[in-house]
Amino acid sequence: MSAILPPTERLWYKHPIDRVEGTWIAIALTWCLIMFFMMIGWHIWGKQNLSTETYRTTPEQYTAKAQAVVDKWTVRTETDQKIPVVAPPPGSDVFIVARLWSFWPILELEKGKSYRLHLTSMDYNHGFSLQPVNINIQVVPGFEHVVTVTPNQSGTYSIVCNEFCGIGHHQMVGRLYVK
């Protein structure tokens, strides 16, 4: 029962290694390094990497910028709440305001074109969960996160809040169109 007794050898770090252990350690270490370099490799060759471009912001500053885009590019409104549907030209900056408990406005993007998507929260932490693609990004108040997105399929998408944000959390859902 030596796992619960002091080892016989005074210097445990001189204890011999069995062949099965040595082989496994070599295999496992190789696999660990492959996984490590896979992440770096994807930054070089992959197309899905989360941007880290971030600015400190305040609700007032951010709302002003978002409002300016909405005023300029709104094409129609939807639902009883008249949520603006905004269709800015490809390559431009688009803004989503996350707050208790909505995503505002509705964006209309073009397939295959890139946009600089800005995200922040007006109050608590929120989660940007784009469905059914299943891309998930944390939305943190006070920080404006800029992510370049390139939709690769047209359709109607939903943005579900997947960070708990209080009693209305399960009512926080928005929409996004790709033409």
Binding site: P6, D18, I25, W31, G46, T52, G127
Partner: protein, 566 residues
């Protein structure tokens, strides 16, 4: 110099318990099990609400119950039990009196008060902020105060553990190095100190903010430091339950570690790298650089994952070597077929090892990969993963250990031994199923911590695919089966304490008997095949590796099909 106390030698196991230590272990383990019971009752509410066809609780109650379930299970049940394990590994295994028993009782009292204060705050209803309590969402001041008091108590208990090691060394209760299991417990305690201090660093300002003393706690700083508590506390579990695995291998088979050097070095890797894992909760966050994310979330090039892969081989390997020495040498797996499957201490641990590795380990590395994290962050995949690690890994292991401790420590004959024999299978396999279907639902995008996946009455409601509803229904069924397994555990253990036949105390003496040295290592080359001491385990490890590699690359393949992001 030794203080007046008595040591009793358990007639069944030969373990020697010091009077104060025995009561401290009992008290901490018992309160832990009470929290498990409370957390288990709360689990009924969570499971039956997330089962779409049942959708039992109201939203407000659901979020409150979910907050309490997380805290009671992840923090209170596990840390109380871990303190018991620490005292056992120091005092019982080293046959040493506990250092400063009064301070140890103070630690126990603080932990008890803290956990109760926190729970009262939660059940008053104004602190449904989830276990993570991300600022600026605020709970009542007592919510944080309870956690802080609990953390201080646990921290003091860790230092009593360290003190006991010093006493053992000074009073020469053992010779040479501490046993491997104690070594693992030291790892757990070192990680615990780091964890609890991080918790205090961020919860104290948050508590002050909740009382209006300071006006701001930076939300991103909170997330970064909080996770050094939130995730690292799960690393205490890993170090603790792996120590218990070695312990059970020694108890059930008389197995020795294949190599002390390998196993201990693997524990050292945990100390050096496991804490970094908390960074993988921030992969989808703004404001942190890619280099920081890649380096930290790979636990520094996956050295901590390497350590777990090593333990995953050496523990079953040690069992295999011991079994082969007993003559179970036919083929690759006779040693495993002839293992004591009817002993819940062994079966529980073995089900835990396999589930922790295959379900918890593989999913954990997948979701901790910087880019892959984007396709699971905050989906119900995450609780799927940690129910595999914490429930199948830690809780099931602690349950298995409890079965061993009932006659040995609590001196009671177990009631309903047949029921106890089945319990690890029912609980373990229903948790396997539960974790798998949860991860399935998460792969389809279903959110965690969400009351209504139907978004009823919302103009922009998203309609999840039918498969997501099916998976969530299966989560309900698997969850209820696991809760039944948990109920059997509580019945058997608490029932044994109440109604089990009292067992003999065993011989008592005023002095410890020094711990003997282990028999010299025999290099077991004569038993295995092809120069491998444990060929069966190696085969299992290969199956694990293939599953790991396939699953890892399937997820990259899926990621490559989603929108371009840069």
């Amino acid at each position: 110099m030794s203080t007046a106390t008595t040591y009793r030698t358990c007639p069944r196991s030969g373990l020697q318990f010091e009077y104060q230590a025995e009561w401290l272990i009992k008290a901490n383990a018992f309160v832990g099990v009470v929290w498990l019971l409370i957390g288990g009752l709360l689990a009924i509410g969570v499971v039956l609400t997330r089962w779409p066809a049942v959708h039992w609780l109201q939203a407000q109650t659901f979020y409150m119950v979910l907050t309490a379930h997380g805290l009671d299970m992840l923090i209170f049940w596990i840390i109380f039990f871990e303190i018991a394990v620490l005292y056992f590994c120091a005092s019982t295994l080293l046959r040493c009196r506990i250092a400063t028993p009064r301070i140890a009782w103070l630690a126990f009292a603080l932990m008890l008060i803290g956990s109760v204060v926190n729970n009262i705050a939660v059940f008053r209803g104004a602190s449904s902020v989830m276990m993570t309590s991300y600022v600026p969402m605020m709970a009542e001041p007592n919510f944080y105060l309870g956690l802080i008091v609990f953390a201080v108590g646990a921290l003091i208990a860790c230092f009593v553990f360290f003190g006991t090691l010093v006493v053992a060394k000074n009073e020469k209760t053992y010779e040479g190095s501490v046993p491997l299991v104690t070594f693992g417990a030291i790892t757990a305690a070192i990680i615990a100190v780091f964890t609890l201090v991080s918790g205090a660093i961020i919860l104290i300002p948050t508590w002050l903010k909740s009382m209006g003393v300071i006006d701001q706690v930076d939300p991103l700083a909170y997330r970064t430091i909080w996770w050094a508590l939130g995730h690292s506390s799960q690393q205490i579990n890993v170090a603790a339950h792996i120590s218990v695995w070695y312990l059970v291998a020694a108890i059930a088979f008389g197995a020795k570690p294949m190599s002390e050097r390998v196993s201990r070095t693997a524990f050292l890797l945990y100390i050096l790298f496991l804490q970094l894992a908390s960074a993988h909760h921030l992969l989808a966050d703004p404001g942190l650089s890619t280099g920081w994310k890649v380096l930290n979330t790979s636990y520094f090039m996956y050295f901590a994952v390497l350590a777990s892969m090593i333990h995953g081989l050496t523990i079953p390997g040690a069992m295999e070597v011991a079994q082969r020495q007993k003559g179970y040498t036919k083929g690759l797996f006779e040693w495993l077929r002839k293992a004591p499957w009817g002993n819940p201490t062994f079966s529980g641990v073995f089900i835990a090892i396999i589930g922790f590795g295959f379900l918890g380990g593989i999913s954990g590395v997948m979701m901790g990969t910087e880019q892959l994290n984007m396709i699971i962050h905050n989906t119900i995949y995450v609780p799927g993963h940690f129910h595999a690690t914490v429930v199948i890994g830690t809780t099931l292991t602690f349950m298995a250990l409890t079965y061993y401790l009932i006659p040995v420590l609590f001196r009671r004959e177990m009631i309903a031994p047949k029921l106890a024999q089945w319990q690890p299978y029912l609980f373990g396999f229903s948790m396997y199923f539960f974790a798998l279907v949860m991860m399935g639902a998460g792969t389809l995008g279903v959110s965690r911590r969400h009351w209504d996946m139907a978004f009823q009455g919302h103009a922009l409601a998203y309609e999840w695919p039918g498969a997501a509803y099916l998976m969530m229904g299966l989560v309900g069924i698997g969850g209820m089966a696991a809760i039944a397994g948990g109920a059997i555990f509580i019945y058997v253990t608490v029932g044994s304490l109440l109604w089990g036949k009292r067992l003999d105390r065993g011989a008592e003496s005023p002095r410890f008997t020094p711990v003997p040295r282990a028999a010299p290592t025999v290099v077991a080359q004569t038993y295995g095949s092809a120069g491998f001491a444990a060929p069966g385990t190696f085969m299992l490890a290969m199956v694990f590796l293939v599953a790991f590699v396939l699953y890892y690359f399937i997820n990259w393949k899926y990621l490559s099909t989603v929108w371009g992001l840069s």
